[in-house]
Amino acid sequence: MGLHRFSPPLSGRMGILRTLAPIRDSAIIEYGCMGHMMYGRMFLNRAGVSGMAKTYSTHIDEADISLGDTTRLNRAIAEIVEKDKPKVIFLLPSSVPQVIGTDLPAICKELQPEYPDIPLIPFGYGGFDVFGYRGVQEALLLLVKTLPIDIEKSKQKTFNIIGSCADLFRFQADADELIRIMEGSFGITPTCVMTSHTNVDDIWNMGNASINLVIRREGIPAAEYLQERFGIPYLVGRPYGIKGTIKWIEDIEKILNIPSNIEFIKSEEEIAKNQTLPTIPFFKHIFRSHPEEGTICLGGHADVVKGILTYATEEMMFNKGPCWCDSSDMSSEEIPYLTEEEWTAIIKSNKKSLLMASGEALEWGGGNLSLQISNPDTKWRLNPYLSPFVGFRGALNLIDLWLNAALDQDHD
């Protein structure tokens, strides 16, 4: 990982925590130094994830490390079971137990008979070569492997969303928009929105869904597992832009084999187009006469960057500027992973372009903070009801942001 002037990539452990923390009726116990969970919880509070899963730490001291004593964990589990009565307990290793090789799966196996009604689920991927998104992927997969019960398909069609996790910027609003579109387009409601809007019961029942909507690539292994076990088909993609959203709905229509509500879709399309219409001459002027300002640079999660880029360049005619993703595991020719030195250099040399990136990058580069699309964040986000980036409302929100950012620039 090396030297960093800005936030380094999340660890796998942090990715797991951010995936599990929104699951209500569950408890998360991190075995390790208290500061670890204190910091993890601080991020969750800032991201607007408070009071969902109960998050605890055991702490460890020198004697625990040198003797390999894990009785703190036993005591913490007993206390949490007695007082909280969670439906499931997730156990996470923190960095020191990872170094000393604490065997959480063995501990869970040994303790499980004492708590026959409460699954104790240990999570791995705490190593020092695993990054956050891999942690998200493994957490989603382990959840679907361990929790869903055998269940018949629901008579009324339903859907699951896989991958709405607290590590993504504005994850709650994006999930809300997708739920709204699914209700409007097909009249169906979700069984499970994994994990931003879920509880343990929802995950238990997710096998009754008719389709899994995978909104980030880390959810694919979980969707594949659910397809194999329950025969649930899945669609991978984040719908950005008006055309992009309609295409997404059409893809779902084909999989579900039920007609979509044309009136709803037309109404949404019309609202978006009407609102956008007065801005078209201005954007045309920018693209023709100020091509630098009509260039968009994006940095963040590869799927978010790809989605917004496609909308900006294919539906809105922005020029593609340098774009990058924040995970070396997702690097591609079109959207490469860039180091701190590389993305800071891009920000310095593209001052006139529209920059959409993390709060940290925007703040450092003196950019427009309203154009944040990714983490690390620099602010508290208590309000989950902000405008999304995906779907019809996301399309309008993005145009609104681009318009005002472009107007803030000094043009002739």
Partner: protein
């Protein structure tokens, strides 16, 4: 008392390891010492920082660094270990990082090692020793593994002690007094009367605390006397006494009027001054408060919670004057000095249970079951049946006769108010 039998009594505690949790599952728990070490270092003018550890430590540290006071002129970087370095050590990477920061113009660098590099036994002192001759920046380091303590205070006192390593021997200036534990611009904390009087007498008070300049620490060895007003500062004062022969007087742990008399007399002697009758009125008020307390507080059983920032052992020793009986004390940190306080308590037959409280909701019923007459610090999530001396952080930075009056009156007012509200 059954629910506290897993705890130790203070007489048998020798270090932080002996301070057990009152209940097991920490929520929210305590900050780790990285937080305070970094917060302190980033508020010292001229001090850059390098946090060495995991992604968790580094990402969290960004929140602390965001409030850095002199961020325009300092660097606050992070070195994150990869899987190879966890096995084979991060020596080369840390040395390269220090050199890079030096090249970028860092004046002084505090290298803060967190849990993992400390667990793998990285020899940071060796690294500093090796690289110091190759760089211009003054280097210091601290080991901030959270597994060595329960909470954050060591982040303060160990970091301050580390600043001491940068000090240079200077000639004594009998007009300078170091104030250890007060910042230069603490407008929100009233200036203690003793310090105001020293200023009136023409002494230059050098404030050593967060927001000081690194040069203040380096040149602090010219002082005639160190006055300590924070528990975080005792280890540094002790080091300066041993290494530079600067005497120190700890004012934060003395409450008894007669002991304050003696302490103030010592200050007169060292500084060759006379207070005349400057403190007579304050002293009289404190004496009156003590007399009243002797009548009202005798035999009261009390606890101290995590909301009490006053070091509890020195306080318990003082409250014994009124025959108050401690039954359970939360200890944020077992300071090096606490062995001495534990011994003093044992000598007067006081041996309370001690613990670390990490979960307000779970701890509250256990505390209330003990049926104390009084709590120092709030019992959050409690029923309100125990009178609590609240907002004790307001005593931070206060010393002398006026603090004694303030403390005793607040205790007695708390009991009176509770009684008026229908309590016992």
């Amino acid at each position: 008392m059954n629910r506290i039998q897993h705890l130790k009594k203070i007489a048998s505690v020798k270090s932080n390891a002996g301070i057990k949790f009152l209940t097991s599952a920490a929520f929210p728990g305590s900050h780790c010492p990285l937080h305070t070490s970094l917060a302190l270092s980033t508020n010292i003018r001229g001090m850059s920082t390098l946090v060495v550890g995991t992604a968790e430590c580094s990402i969290y540290s960004r929140n602390v660094v965001k409030k850095a006071r002199y961020s325009e002129e300092t660097l606050h970087w992070m070195y994150v270990l990869d899987s190879n370095e966890v096995v084979f050590g991060c020596r080369k990477g840390v040395i390269d990082a220090i050199k890079e920061m030096d090249k970028e113009g860092a004046e002084a660098i505090m290298v803060i090692l967190t849990c993992v590099p400390e667990v793998i036994g990285e020899d940071i002192e060796g690294i500093i020793h090796e690289v110091q001759p190759q760089v211009k920046a003054r280097l210091s380091s601290v080991l901030m593994g959270h597994f060595r303590c329960n909470s954050h205070p060591s982040g303060y006192w160990k970091t301050l002690l580390s600043f001491g390593g940068m000090m240079e021997k200077r000639d004594i200036n009998s007009n300078i007094v170091n104030i250890l534990g007060r910042s230069t611009d603490e407008d929100n904390i009233p200036m203690p009367e003793l310090l105001m009087e020293l200023e009136k007498k023409g002494f230059h008070l050098r404030m050593l605390a967060p927001k000081s300049d690194i040069k203040d620490f380096i040149g602090a060895t010219d002082a005639k006397l160190n006055l300590v007003i924070s528990p975080y500062m005792n280890p540094l004062a002790d080091m300066m006494d041993k290494q530079f022969s600067i005497p120190f007087i700890s004012l934060h742990e003395i409450y008894n009027v007669l002991e304050i008399d003696e302490t103030y007399r010592k200050i007169e002697e060292i500084l060759s001054i006379s207070w005349d009758n400057r403190f007579d009125e304050l002293r009289e008020k404190a004496l009156m408060a003590e007399k009243k307390a002797e009548k009202e507080l005798g035999g009261l059983r009390y606890i101290s919670t995590g909301r009490n920032p006053i070091p509890p052992l020195a306080l318990a020793f003082y409250l014994n004057k009124f025959n108050m009986i401690p039954i359970l004390l939360h200890m944020e940190e077992f300071y090096p000095d606490d062995r001495q306080w534990a011994k003093k308590l044992e000598e007067v037959g006081i041996n309370p249970f001690v613990c670390h409280m990490v979960n307000d909701k779970r701890d509250a019923p256990v505390l209330e079951e003990l049926e104390p007459d009084l709590s120092f610090g709030e019992i959050f999530e409690g029923t309100g049946k125990v009178p609590c001396v609240s907002y004790l952080y307001e005593l931070y930075g206060q010393i002398g006769y006026e603090r004694t009056s303030f403390l005793l009156n607040r205790i007695m007012n708390t009991l009176e108010n509770h009684k008026n509200k229908g309590g016992i």
